[in-house]
């Protein structure tokens, strides 16, 4: 008991600025609750809402309702009370400090029950008039539809509407599952002069052009929200250093180069229009479900498209043709990961094995050994029953002279095994190893293992040669 108290004392002895930093990471309501810890803590939390407002409706839900439950019944009396308590609490939190003190962060997470819409707008408005540096809006909802009642727009805070520039300090804007009005594109260009970090995750958005001279980090991740509407989205973000375009159903293209991009994560659609060509400086690249057809400009290109590329991750059924292209052209490549989608070997969409017909004319097996002078590690992750012969062919085409040095540093990660659980082995051994274990078990390569360890004993012979 005394020991425990001593620990609590150590926490209480920390300076106010550290305790406030801690409390700015929980909801304002939760921060207030720490005032009951001791006299020392009585007033620590008070400084927090002058800098940071955090409201989360899920705190008021006794148990998160399952999707089925949500569909089945209307709100119960109990849930009505929860909503009332939430609204009362949020109104208190947003009026704790008069609009004088500027905010570091405003975070609001709500579900979009109709009764809340007006209230949510009210809280957002109170937050924005305090000129936040960081703004996060997270909506939990069953469906995302374009005529959703909670449409998000900053237009009422625009300078032309007479308000002072309340958003001139905004550096971080994160929106999750939000329907974004069309005027948002213009607003980002014209009224957010220092915006550096923009994340649109599972959002419905229709603006055609996203232009910002200040943006450094851009994420557009549509998850599985399948909106096919909308024409090409044009990016004009010359200072972006980190770019992630995931599952965008809309084609995305870039107006001009993005010379500062160091890391890019792109999907099939995004690549179709040559977004890859705009990020030539990238050091690391994630590609997800990219087929060789999506990279027509790669064919017959003499200069390497991404001369600085050091790390390449291919996720979920990228073509082997894509891999071959980078093996051939990315001279500085150091790390390579190929990860297959779980269970997808049984689906029709098996590009890794189908791509042979598509790409065989360009990449005859064995035509040329890939130099890959700098490759230090190769990570592979796939289900046991996956046909990876073509992948294996491609890896086998890495120059024989290079295989030996790689051999000492190549790792295999079988699905769900620990990050560093792999053991050194050649690409071929890595492939073989996947035939050794069960899909969901950890597998380590041990040269001493007997043939019985492998699902197919011939694999062992192969390895022992």
């Amino acid at each position: 008991m005394e020991e425990r108290t001593a620990v609590a004392d150590r926490l209480s002895e920390l300076p106010d600025c550290i305790l406030e930093n801690i409390l700015s990471r929980v909801t304002t309501r939760q921060a207030c609750r720490t005032s009951v810890l001791s006299r020392r803590w009585r007033h620590v939390w008070r400084a927090v809402p002058s800098r940071c407002i955090d409201i989360d409706q899920s705190e008021f839900q006794a148990s998160p309702p399952s999707a089925l439950k949500k569909l089945k019944r209307r709100r119960s009396k109990e849930e009505n009370r929860e909503v009332e308590r939430f609204m009362d609490s949020a109104d208190h939190v947003t009026t704790l400090h008069a609009s004088s003190s500027p905010l570091d962060a405003f975070r609001l997470r709500v579900n979009t029950e109709c009764a809340l819409i007006g209230a949510a707008q009210r809280w957002i408005s109170r937050g924005i008039t305090r000129r936040p540096v960081s703004f996060t809006l997270h909506c939990d909802r069953r469906y995302l539809c374009h005529n959703d009642p909670l449409q998000f727009s900053f237009s009422r805070y625009s300078r032309s509407s007479g308000t002072s520039a309340v958003l001139s300090r905004l550096r971080t804007l994160h929106l999750y599952q939000v329907v974004v009005k069309e005027d948002m594109g213009c607003f980002i260009t014209d009224e957010l002069p220092v915006l550096e970090d923009l994340q649109l995750v599972w959002c419905y958005h229709r603006f055609d052009r996203l232009a910002s001279a200040s943006l450094k980090n851009l994420v557009v991740d549509n998850g599985n929200v399948g909106f096919s509407e909308g024409a090409t989205m044009v990016l004009a973000v010359p200072r972006v250093a980190s770019l992630r375009i995931s599952n965008s159903m809309r084609p995305v293209t870039s107006e001009g180069e993005m010379p500062l991009v160091v890391a890019a994560s792109l999907t099939h659609r995004a690549c179709v229009l040559g977004l890859l060509e705009s990020v030539r400086g990238a050091i690391s690249l994630d590609l997800l479900e990219v087929s060789a057809r999506a990279l027509p400009f790669l064919q017959g290109v003499k200069d390497p498209v991404l001369p600085n590329l050091r790390t390449l991750h291919l996720y979920y059924d990228c073509d082997v043709g894509v891999l071959r292209h980078f093996l051939q052209n990315a001279q500085k490549l150091e790390r390579l990961t190929v990860r297959f989608a779980p269970g997808s070997s049984r689906t029709k969409n098996n590009r890794m094995s189908k791509s042979k017909q598509k790409t065989s004319s360009d990449h005859q097996h064995g035509t040329k050994a890939y130099e890959c002078k700098n490759v230090k590690s190769v990570g592979l992750e796939f289900d046991e029953d996956r046909d990876v012969s073509e992948l294996n062919d491609a890896l086998d085409d890495i120059s024989r002279e290079r295989v030996l040095p790689i051999e000492s540093s190549t790792t295999l990660r079988n699905r769900k095994s620990a990050m560093n659980g792999g053991a050194p082995c050649s690409p071929l051994k890595a492939w073989a190893m996947a035939h050794k274990g069960k899909v969901n078990s950890e597998v380590d390569y041990n040269p001493e293992d007997p043939p019985e360890s492998y699902t197919n004993a011939t694999v062992h012979n192969h390895l022992s040669q």
Binding site: M1, R4, T5, A6, V7, A8, R10, L11, L14, P15, C17, I18, N21, I22, L23, R25, V26, T27, R29, Q30, C32, R33, T34, S35, V36, L37, S38, R39, R42, E59, R85, D88, S89, H92, V93, D197, K216, N217, A241, S242, V262, A263, S265, I283, S284, L285, D286, T311, H313, E334, T337, K376, G379, M419
Partner: protein, 174 residues
């Protein structure tokens, strides 16, 4: 800052600096890792810490310093690439895994760490530990927070004060 080559080999001559903890233990570490500390970075840029000199850190004991350096060494390559957002998904996932395990430690060590991170101005470590402590508070009732953080049960007097506070701030407790 030039990005140091990751891993072995071609530039074996990475600059090293020596740090000296409050209990006089010497730690030799790459300058790039130590430079995650804003405080140390200035000294190192001025050429300090090399040779036999060493940089004394009178506020950090050796146990805490070795933990701090473990963090810095792991995060130095990502920082050299321009910070976390630039790491790829795989790198981010690995760092995240490391971070989760890293803060899975006794509360007293945690508090020493956050103080050290504060003094040394290591932003990432400060956030990491602050987040860990915040997670111990999240979603808990006042009594649960007390127990989690090791506060003794309230005396009757304290209980009365608590009740008064809870009445005043009903919106935080209902």
């Amino acid at each position: 800052m030039a990005a140091p080559e990751s891993g072995d080999g071609n530039n074996g001559a990475a600059r090293m600096v020596t740090l000296i903890s409050s209990d006089n233990t010497r730690f030799e570490v790459e300058a790039a890792a130590a430079s995650l500390s804003q405080t140390l970075q200035l000294t190192i840029l001025d050429g300090g810490g090399g040779g036999g000199d060493g940089i004394p850190l009178p506020n950090v004991d050796s146990a805490t310093l070795s933990k701090v350096l473990e963090y810095c060494i792991k995060h130095a390559p990502a920082a050299a690439n321009g910070g976390a957002p630039n790491a790829t998904a795989v790198d981010r996932a690995e760092l995240e895994r490391f971070d989760n395990e890293f803060v899975n430690i006794d509360q007293s060590v945690l508090y020493s760490l956050i103080m050290a991170a504060h003094n040394l101005e290591i932003e990432g470590l400060q956030s990491l530990v602050a987040k860990k402590v915040a997670d111990m508070i999240k979603g808990k009732s006042p009594m649960e927070i007390r127990r989690t953080l090791g506060f003794p049960d309230p005396t009757p007097e304290e209980q009365a004060e608590m009740n008064a506070h809870m009445l005043e701030y009903g919106w935080a407790y209902e």
